[in-house]
Amino acid sequence: MSGGAGNREALLEKITALDAEHAKAVAGGGEKSVARHHGRGKLLPRERIELLVDEGSAFLELSPLAGWGSDFAVGASVVTGIGVVEGVECLITANDPTVKGGASNPWTVKKIFRAAQIAEENGLPTISLVESGGADLPTQKEIFIPGGKLFRDLTRASARKQPTIAIVFGNSTAGGAYVPGMSDHTVMVKEQAKVFLGGPPLVKMATGEETDDESLGGAEMHARTSGLADHLAEDEHDAIRIGRRIVARLNWRKATVAPTSWAEPDADPEELLDLVPADLKEPFDPREVIARLCDGVSPTNGAVFDEFKPLYGTSLVTGWARLHGRQIGILANAQGVLFSEEAQKATQFIQLANQVDVPLLFLHNTTGYMVGAQYEQGGIIKHGAMMINAVSNSRVPHLSVVMGASYGAGNYGMNGRAFDPRFLFTWPSAKSAVMGPAQLAGVLEIVARQSAESKGQTFDAEGFAGIKQVVEQQVEEQSLPHFLSGMLYDDGVIDPRDTRTVLAICLSVIENRPVEGTDRFGVFRM
């Protein structure tokens, strides 16, 4: 390992910055808003979740930085994640009523859609902890029409026999009323839940009827009169207790029996911080990462990593390992660049994983497919297309971790966001864009120079330097994990030392549905 201490310092600094951004999401609507909410005897979304999940179990929060860099609060006024309730892995969403009353903005909607996608792909029951003032009206144009998908997803989940539970703690009005309305099970908190299509002013305007909140949508009314509430809870604790009892009676059975024993990694995961170079131009050996993520040698695991084609296409490392006792196939960039050999090796390896029904893990550190006349002539597009074909049509679950660079079509080949890996997490050291900021700016300059010259103008190199700097700066910023995570282009930025735990949770979650590979791919251009 080279440059350990410097690398560690650089990465620790980034982790500290990440913690600070997470803290913003946790702070919700700020001290005053939280105090007012607590003052009403109500719990915060994460407090509700902490009570809901099994004591001491893990909670993997998803998209915690959603909305980062936008006009909206970090976290997008909703908490989503995967937690274990009564021994069942559930997709949990919880509105944060301290952030503008829990109103949904465009990022909230994106975040909930992503959560619903995860629930669908992995077959998880969903639990919605509802308390939302509805849509953020100034941005309604971005919410209202696509937002219908939320309700569609709920009932489609139910149709797939994927249970849906809504626990209503407060406002759930207008469109929001369809969350309990579309759920299999509903619990409403006495004197708190308010579920109606139109409140007293709207009713007055529409029909002239004088009425009140409780008659229109109180928990008692829904439990005793309308029948929308299946359970009337005394208070928030009681609602969560009832929610847990509902899950306990789902008769949930996972598709696979989980392994019970394995060895922790042979190398210390703490050392991951020393591995990743502060400057991403420097490659690092992904085998060192694998040794710190995957199970160590034990009676049930004869080797940490059985490498496939170690002598061919050496810029991409492929092979088999175990993580918390579960077999996985790994594709990891070793030298950044993907050549034809690497693309073909990846294609074969993905097919092999599909033959034996084994999930795949992609560890990104790629600057993209090789360019240049020799490589174009050697069929780099053809071979890159084969790899992307394999990645796209593979039916075993994919997990992606962006460790370092993820540029260009390399991002696609390594199963970037557009290729729907089941989960995608980013390390604080990562960068992702169509190409590196300096390269991009350089390309722009060359194009501008050519354009000027073709028009017979003189290229103002000095003048362009300023533009180049601005562009480089902007691309740099937009390549960084917080920004990309804010755009929902990953499921979260994680401390590299937690990667093994995150992957173990994902692999366990995946097992809620059978893992079945395919033999159907698109036409491979040979």
Binding site: E55, A58, G87, R241, R244, D498, A504
Partner: protein, 628 residues
Amino acid sequence: MPQITRVLVANRAEIASRVFRTCRRLGIGTVAVHSDPDAALPYVREADVAVRLPGSTPAETYLDVDAVLAAARAAGADAVHPGYGFLSENAGFARAVQEAGLTWIGPDPSSIEQMGDKIRAKELMRAAGVPVLEAPEQPTEVDLPLLVKASAGGGGRGMRVVRALADLEREVAAAQEEAASAFGDGTVFVEPYVEQGRHVEVQVVGTTVYGDRDCSLQRRHQKVVEEAPAPGLPDEVRTALHEAARRAAEAIDYRGAGTVEFLYDPASERFFFLEMNTRLQVEHPVTEEVHGVDLVELQLVAAEGAPVPERAGRASGHAVEVRLYAEDPAADHQPQSGVLRCLEIPQEPGVRVEAGFEAGNEVSTFYDAMLAKVVVCADTRAQAVRLLATVLQRSRIHGVRTNRDQLVAILRDERFVAGEVSTALLPQVALPAPDAGLAPVAAALALAERDRAARTVQRGLPPAWRNVPSQPQVTILGDHRVEWWGGRDGYRVEGAAVVAASPEQVTLEADGVRTTYRVSVAGSDVDVDWPGGHAALVRTPRFVDPAEAVASGSLLAPMPGTVVRVAVESGAHVAAGDPVLVLEAMKMQHTVAAPHAGTVAQINVQAGAQVAAGEVLAVVEEQQEETA
């Protein structure tokens, strides 16, 4: 008299085990009798054969002469050992045993009678030249305080201290009632009460003196700490005591093991005869330890008519015994019941444990609540006391509250250590304030480790892992709220470093000092033991179904027992402290009073009902503030 071949012990628990042990050593067969609640106690298993005495109450079982004799016949016993308590000082029983052709392991029935009637015994002793304590027939203020005692009594039952003449009549009546219920004989007598006196007694076998014991530390007139020899007696007092005991035994031509009890006034260096117990005492082991003698063996020898030694061997060392009771010293020594989940007393050299119970046994309220006697013998009193205190402190006792902490506090009390014992000392020893220290933290982490081990999905992850930490995990154990954080690097808590954690054991380091806590969990009960102490914690469930929550103002049974009387009717108005009903457990009556003024909303029991601890007996709805 014929040689004894098979002994039935008409008793239970530790004393039955104790007698069986000597019998086994001498090649004598053993027969146990047991009531229904006692069927699982170790002594039943230790005997060669056992006979069930159907029923639960002492009257139905161990006090039923016919049933005990039938058991002896059925099991082919040829001798009966009565132990202590129950029928041990019942001359009628002794005679019935003899009339059934069996050997009575005890004194002549006439000796029991002579000493059993405490008024007659006093006269007898006065005649034999033994100093006695007497109260004037018409006591006046100067004679106060007085002690009312049951003539047929023992073990503190029916004893009452009277400090005002006005109370005398009422206390005599109460003592009579209690004596009648406990012993079937309501006779009581009154004697002066020596406040700072010491209870010193002399062991005899026949007329041979086996030294003395001090048993001054008593609660509710029941001994809890006993030692041999009695500390700090002037030589001439000790000699005179032994001589008085010998004369007492001689006066009734005593046979077998007995104890002559004296009240000793250290101020005047005078002693007075109190009573003679014509049986083996609970505290006999301290004498055995310092004299190197087996008193049960001597009882058997005497019962067979063989001569017992005329002189006791030389005493050496010092022995101290404590009685470990299932009781709550903080709640007036109320007897406790429940399943004894663990009883582990460190068996260091010099430690002798006489236990009637073992882990898993249910402690019922039908009988005496003594779990075990712990005896330590060492070269000096100081050594014995130090070891005994430590052994007690390090014992693991789970499931029932005990007087262990009080015993440790006594054994470490400066006055006790200095030998300044008196019957007034025990109430002066402050009960140690319960200090759980870091035990709740250890309990919470062990519980978390248990949860982790029991997980069916996502096994093997770090505890309470969060990628976005927002708050600590909270484990509530009664009044203790423990906050802890989990994650990649294991557990984190305030005020200590977590060195290691497993479902059974947690090691914490605070201020540079590492301590390992052993944690046992049974349902919601969490017991924590460490070298410096122990804590019995109860995990508060995270959720309570409101339908199961207990209404406020509910009166819960403080212990299992029988409802003697319901004092109010449903709907009645009561003031705070008004008796609502009376519960009897362990022959003690406990009044359950209204916690506040209000209306009796519910009465769930009636007189005669058996109730479990914690059962809701009645509900008193609090009175709303009324505007006049």
